[in-house]
Amino acid sequence: MKSNDRGISIPNAIKKLFGIELSQHKAFKDLVYPLARSKGFLKVIKEPMGLGSTKNHLFINEDDINKLYNAVLLQGFFADSKRVKAIFNNEKKRLEAAEFLELIVSGRQSIIGVAVQSQRLHQLIDKLKSSDPALTTKQLPNPFKELPQLSLNGLTSVVQVLLAQSAVMSEGESMVTQFLKGDLEKAYEYSCQLRTNDPYLQKYQIQIQKEYQEANEFDDLLKDLLN
């Protein structure tokens, strides 16, 4: 573990905190560095790379290593680093984030591709809700079996996965809900917009369109017969 009195390098910090080689995960690296470069968020020491380079090596003050840990964890949920930083600085944003996790994430049975341990997630939510969560000094409970930043293809946070997932689910869910409520007209509209490979939803889609056509034919027939 290379660290010196100036602090600890970012790859070393990530290795120490999560046991991950940052150099092997480009997408993850692209998320972590902005946290360190962001002004005033972490205490960093810059050291010129030397040999005429204008770039600096970044070292993080050891006092802030748990803050980095927490920021990376929260990035697993909220990719946006601005939002993550706001959780540290702004109590309202922190409570908002806790509420989001409670409502959207903890109620789910699964988030595709992300294993979340619900007990730890609840501990994390409780911490965020508490009046003094000590976000900058103490490590939050880690609910991930593996950081989503590493395991998701292209998508780097739980929020992004949920958004991608809900775009498909919401249309399918709306279609089925309207159908079961008896609103064939609305169910049919949703069924026309839905593009899905889910065999369960496809069956509903076919059934709804068939019933809609039959109902339409029936209406036409009644119009001829009853007037």
Partner: protein, 110 residues
């Protein structure tokens, strides 16, 4: 035990058709369904199909067909089909409704 259950169901099945036939004649039942379909059709688009079963719609078709045919053969029948269907449907609550011919005749006099 099994035999008893079987016997019970056999009896039940034997009674059921007579029970529904005794309830009221096909024409009256049919006109009841026809009025129901007419109402739901007016109430909301697509609703008639969703609230009508296959047998209900066949019954309704029977009523409509009989009314239509009767009006063609009886020059005295001037009331429209809806009034006549409603008139006949009202007999569904009576224990001893008139026979079909009589019902049709009466319905034309309203």
């Amino acid at each position: 035990m099994f035999n008893k259950t079987l016997l019970f169901f056999t009896l039940l099945l034997a009674i059921m058709p007579t029970a529904s036939m005794a309830k009221s004649p096909l024409l009256i039942e049919g006109c009841v369904e026809l009025i129901n379909i007419y109402k739901s059709n007016k109430e909301q688009r697509l609703l008639a199909a969703q609230t009508t079963s296959l047998s209900e719609s066949l019954r309704a078709g029977y009523c409509l067909g009989v009314l239509d045919q009767y009006a063609k053969t009886e020059y005295r029948c001037r009331s429209d089909w809806f009034k006549r269907a409603k008139f006949i449907a009202n007999y569904s609550l009576e224990d001893n409704p008139p026979a079909e011919d009589k019902l049709l005749e009466l319905s034309c006099e309203i």
